[in-house]
């Protein structure tokens, strides 16, 4: 909210430098976001009145004005603006005036015509950004008066008020806080005149939503534009001037924090009643829109219809217009939660609802009504009724709160002198009603409904005492590791392994775009997305990795090898599952290198498979499946459990995202991988005796897989066979072998015994058994 330093000064003495005020507030938790200077501070610019205007003899775009500057002689001014009429009052810069933009005004001739000064636009005076024409002043402005009187220099503080501090949403309220924080005296408010209270004329049928309502009739007012001082005051904090009555209502709200509303009394039919709306009741509001109300909305009504939504907005039909003669001034208390619900349901947040939903000061309701009445009488004339009509009861004050000094010290962590504690609370407006050596009971002021428990008081003590005076202490303690700790550590080591393999970790958004959903049709949609980029929860890591690929290919990279570890949301229930996603695409290296052949080879399925096999999962195997959008699709199994998917995106799909070449993607459940990571490690003897190797090369039918050959070699087990490595595959593209029916594979078999050196005969015998088995069971042709 914006505050005028001039207005604050009316209630409390302030430091000269606004930065100091800002610092004081900010350190007490009332953050000042911006400081802005406003108003004119220019000598030799005065109010003038245009008395005649004629065309410039030598220039089509200029006019020659005759103006009254308050002295007996008229001045002649050449002017380029067209937005004025004769008799308008406008600012006149006299010769010698220095404008904020640095230019100095002189007597001069413009196209041969004498000009004794310059008529000014708002921007030329530093009063806003309007450069379209002259600044037309209020008809009330006194000709010859310095412009500084009309636009007094002011500083505007933009302050962030937290939702618990509705009491700070007014100049008086903020001044009261500043007084408490700086130990200054709050200046008295304008004296309250005695007034008769009449418990009739208004009724409340919704006492929960509106516990208290008041109205005062003021007759024979003259509605017209506001005087300059009033306009300047409300405009300086960003409120548009409407007319004197509405402006006064707004001014009082800004000054005291209590919203009031003026109705055109002659348009009301019978007595006022505050009631709940009828379901579907139509309401034509001041903003020109018609709202359909629900039965939980509180309205101010006459005998025929709703004339206002309680605490939110008045009605258009009963609003004050230029023709209004008699007004009816409302000042009331509306229940915060009810106002908030209404403003939200109707999507109609207003300055009034903002204050009511944060709670207004019950003690300010009648005072604000009187302040507004007094100002209306002064500015718009009119005769206020002798009495004010009220209904209902003001909400009770908060209950008293007890505080023990010991608890305060315990929560803050330093010992604060009990006298200091009492002083701080007293500054904030609390009154000690019961005092003991250990603490006391405090009466809460009507405007601080947020103070309900001892900790709320402790917060005020911290604010008043100064958080800087509380030194930090070390309260470390040991705690044993949790399941989350172990899981985090395993995830870290999994991540390190992948990084060590040259993969880059990415972190993509868990919210995916509408486009991306097509990749995985069953994503959980958000009810209220804000943009097309974030409409659903990712059901897998595929969309994020693919869009990362897309972005980087566009940026011109030659190689993408990335992984992500993160949560996905499995439809329909949205179970959260941690997954590992892998994506490889493009060249084997991101840049050419002298040690590599000039012709770049591209990453392929077996590169992806190699990464997966290197992760600690026992007995991993792959099985072909069908999956839309994938030209090659395999399930990843650990023993017999499916733990993931690996495949190659179909050309059509890859073309859709404009990526040339083959895209390889895999996604695995993270938990089995982490279990594998956590498997206990144990020492086993390092081999002491030499190994013997034998190679077997064979030509096998096209369809025969490596897995089958391997199984045939390994089962039944040869006791000395330690390991089997496939070291050669002869195959042209498409799997066709030149000059032979099938493909050629070569394996290296390693034999070893733990306790002795093997003899050549033993190895040859074992090797022969395996060769025989391969021929017999698989029908392979061995190449000798």
């Amino acid at each position: 909210m914006k505050f005028s330093v001039n207005c604050l000064r009316e209630f409390v003495d302030l430091p000269k430098n606004p930065e100091e005020i800002a610092e004081l507030l900010t350190r007490a938790g009332i953050e000042t976001k911006n400081i802005e200077t406003r108003g004119a501070n220019i000598d030799k610019v005065i109010v003038s009145q245009i008395t005649a205007s004629s065309r410039h003899p030598n220039a089509d775009r200029l006019t020659v004005c005759e103006v009254d500057d308050g002295s007996s002689t008229k001045r002649q001014i050449v002017c380029g603006a067209t937005n004025y009429k004769v008799s308008d009052k406008v600012p006149l810069a006299l010769p010698g005036a220095k404008l904020p933009n640095g230019s100095e005004i002189r007597k001069s001739k413009l196209r041969g015509v004498e000009s004794e000064g310059m008529l000014c636009s708002p921007i030329e005076l530093g009063l806003g950004s309007d450069a379209s024409g002259l600044l037309i002043l209020s008809p009330d402005a006194e000709v010859g008066a310095p412009i500084n009187d009309l636009f007094p220099a002011d500083t505007i503080l933009d302050v962030e008020i937290t939702p618990n501090r509705g009491d700070l949403l007014s100049h008086f309220g903020l001044a009261r806080e500043i007084a408490a924080l700086s130990g200054k005296q709050l200046k008295a408010m304008p004296r309250e005149a005695k007034i008769e209270i009449k418990k009739s004329g208004v009724t409340i049928a919704a006492p929960r939503e509106c516990p208290f309502f008041s109205a005062r009739k003021i007759e024979n007012v003259k509605v017209r534009p506001s005087p300059q001082w009033l306009r300047a005051k409300i405009e300086s904090v960003g409120i548009r001037s409407i007319n004197n009555i509405v402006d006064i209502s707004n001014f009082v709200m800004l000054e005291l924090g209590q919203p009031t509303h003026a109705f055109d009394a002659d348009k009301l039919k019978g007595n006022i009643n505050v009631r709940l709306a009828r379901d579907g009741e139509k309401f034509f509001a001041l903003d020109g829109k018609t709202y359909s109300l629900k039965s939980d909305i509180c309205v101010v009504a006459d005998q025929e219809r709703a004339i206002g939504i309680g605490g939110v907005m008045g009605g258009e039909e009963t609003g004050v217009t230029d023709l209004t003669k008699n007004i009816f001034l409302e000042s009331a208390y509306f229940l915060p939660v009810s106002v908030r619900r209404t403003a939200r349901e109707l999507n109609l947040p207003t300055d009034a609802s903002y204050r009511f939903e944060r709670g207004v000061d019950p003690n300010m309701i009648l005072r604000a009504s009187q302040r507004a009445t007094e100002l209306i009488r002064k500015v718009a004339g009119g005769t206020p009724a002798k009495e004010i009509m009220t209904a209902g009861k003001l909400p009770a004050n908060s209950a008293d709160v007890s505080l023990s000094y010991e608890k305060c010290d315990r929560v803050v962590g330093v010992s604060i002198n009990s006298k200091t504690v009492d002083e701080i609370l007293t500054y904030f407006g609390l009154k000690k009603t019961k005092s003991t050596s250990k603490g006391g009971t405090w009466k809460i002021p009507s405007y601080r409904r947020d103070l309900q428990r001892d900790v709320d008081l402790i917060e005020e003590i911290v604010r008043g005492y100064g958080i800087d005076k509380v030194s930090g202490t070390d309260r470390s303690r040991s705690s044993s590791s949790s399941a989350a700790d172990r899981s985090h550590d395993l995830e870290s080591s999994l991540r390190d392994q992948l990084v060590a393999r040259g993969l880059l970790e990415v972190r993509t958004s868990k919210l995916i775009s509408r486009e991306a959903i097509t990749l995985d049709e069953k994503a959980i949609n958000l009810c209220n997305p804000l943009s097309e980029d974030h409409v659903a929860l990712r059901p897998s890591l595929l969309p994020g990795l693919v869009s990362t690929l897309d972005r980087n290919v566009r940026a011109g990279v030659q190689r993408v090898a990335i992984f992500e570890i993160g949560r996905v949301f499995v439809p329909p229930a949205g179970n959260e599952e941690r997954r590992l996603g892998l994506l490889v695409w493009g060249n084997v290296t991101s840049a050419p290198h002298w040690r590599l052949s000039e012709k770049q080879t591209t990453l392929e399925f077996f590169d992806l498979k190699g990464v997966i096999e290197s992760l600690a999962i026992g007995n991993v195997s792959f099985r072909r499946i069908d999956r839309p959008d994938f030209a090659l699709a395999t399930e990843i199994l650990s023993d017999d459990r499916v733990i993931g998917f690996a495949g190659q995106l179909s050309v059509a799909r890859a073309a859709e995202i404009d990526v040339p070449g083959s895209v390889y993607f895999a996604e695995l459940q993270a938990d089995p991988l982490l279990e594998g990571q956590s498997a206990a490690k144990a020492f086993r003897d390092i081999e002491r005796f030499p190994a013997v190797t034998r190679d077997i090369a064979m030509i096998v039918p096209e369809k025969l897989t490596h897995a089958e050959i391997l199984r045939t070699i390994q089962e039944p087990a040869e006791p000395f066979l330690e390991s089997v490595q496939l070291f050669d595959v002869f195959e042209t593209q498409g799997g066709v072998i030149t000059g032979a029916a099938g493909k050629s594979l070569a394996y290296r078999l390693t034999y070893r015994d733990k306790n002795r050196t093997l003899t050549n005969e033993e190895v040859t015998a074992a090797d022969a058994r395996i060769r025989e088995r391969l021929k017999r069971e698989l029908g392979v042709t061995l190449r000798e």
């Binding site: 007490a28 900790v455 989350a484 870290s492 040259g502 209220n528 190689r559 052949s597 590169d607 090659l632």
Partner: protein, 363 residues
């Protein structure tokens, strides 16, 4: 039937019958090529009368479009067929490329002629990296672990109770900003802060409790250089006997000075959160950082509000968290913000874009 329609039907039939890309290309040339039969009709148009020309013109366009579309479709089918045939021959049980095999073709320094031709499996020789946010999180977790915090966890999809009510933010509370919350069709929501884990941790264990919970949170907010729909926090909670504001200050000052260096200035300012009382905001500045003269907000924190303990007790149906016996502090640190400060990253959106040139800077 108009001869053009006849032509179209013939073309579509031939396209359908094309069994490979060459055949398809031949068909395309036959009909749509420079001297193709459909193209020829374009020439013929000139000879037509005024009456006939628009009618035939439209027909010609339709024919050309129909044939073009059919060719594209067929080409895609043929491509994917070819792809499937090619991939069907692959023996997926062949071993993947692992580190040792990458070196198998290496034969020592010599001349260029023996430089690793057809060499695959260069993968491990590229430099990998952890995402900068991961680095930030891991570094932060390490510091908190040195102070004796253990990790806790909670779901991203939450119910209103854990996200608002239990955190002393009842319906119609001004701080309960449904406008800024993403909702799911079943009424649940995406947590707007990791403070939900405070509740989850206290529900599952009695005091004393000393945990941190790193995680994602979501806000329905306009996206710009400092706001994203999904962001990352570390939540902290310490409940014990006599936990004080001074302890909270000590912990966060230690954390920030460990992270940003001993010269880091840390300032606490009173603030308001419904679930802590007193509430504080934490600001820091450090001359060691770029633009280090400015105070930057990095965390919200405070003493756990007694109403939060009461809500937890209700959920636990016991009195484990007795506000007279136990007190606690809680904090939420913005990880994206901290990473932006530490690495001098100007725009929060860079984290989720994953430009490899960005990621490599943190290798």
């Amino acid at each position: 039937m108009h001869p053009l329609e006849q032509l179209r039907d013939d073309a579509l039939r031939e396209i359908e019958a094309a069994s490979d890309e060459q055949a398809l290309e031949a068909t395309r040339i036959k009909y749509l090529g420079k001297s193709g039969s459909i193209s020829a009709w374009g020439e013929q148009m000139k000879t037509l009368g005024k009456e006939e020309r628009p009618v035939i013109g439209r027909l010609l366009n339709e024919t050309r479009n129909a044939v073009t579309v059919a060719i594209e479709k067929r080409a895609e089918i043929l491509r994917s067929q070819k792809e499937s045939v090619a991939l069907a021959g692959i023996d997926i049980s062949l071993p993947g490329v692992t580190v040792p095999s990458a070196y198998s073709g290496y034969s020592g320094y010599s001349t260029r002629s023996i430089a690793l031709t057809g060499y695959s499996g260069y993968l491990p020789l590229e430099r990998g990296s952890r995402h900068p946010l991961t680095q930030m999180l891991q570094q932060s977790i390490q510091i908190f672990r040195r102070m004796g915090f253990s990790l806790a966890d909670g779901p991203d999809i939450e119910d209103e109770w854990h996200c608002f009510d239990a955190l002393n933010t009842p319906p119609d509370h001004p701080a309960r900003n449904e406008q800024d919350t993403f909702y799911l069709p079943d009424g649940r929501l995406l947590r707007t802060h990791t403070s939900t884990v405070q509740i989850r941790a206290m529900e599952s264990a009695p005091p004393p409790l000393r945990v941190i919970a790193p995680g994602a949170a979501y806000r329905r907010d306009e996206i710009d250089a400092t706001h994203s729909a999904q962001f990352h926090q570390i939540e902290g909670l310490y409940v014990d006997e006599n936990v004080s504001v001074a302890d909270l200050k000590g912990a966060l000052e230690f954390f920030l000075r460990e992270l940003f260096g001993p010269e880091t200035d840390v300032q606490f300012r009173p603030h308001y959160f419904p679930f802590t009382e007193p509430s504080l905001e934490v600001y820091m500045r450090s001359k060691a950082l770029k633009g280090g003269e400015r105070w930057i907000e990095v965390a919200g924190c405070g003493m756990v509000h007694p109403a939060v303990f009461e809500a937890v007790n209700k959920a636990r149906s016991d009195k484990a968290y007795d506000a007279e016996k136990w007190s606690g502090y809680a904090f939420g640190l913005g990880m994206d913000r901290l990473a932006m400060i530490l690495f001098d990253i100007p725009d929060i959106r860079l984290f989720a874009q994953n430009d490899l040139r960005f990621l490599r800077q943190f290798a």
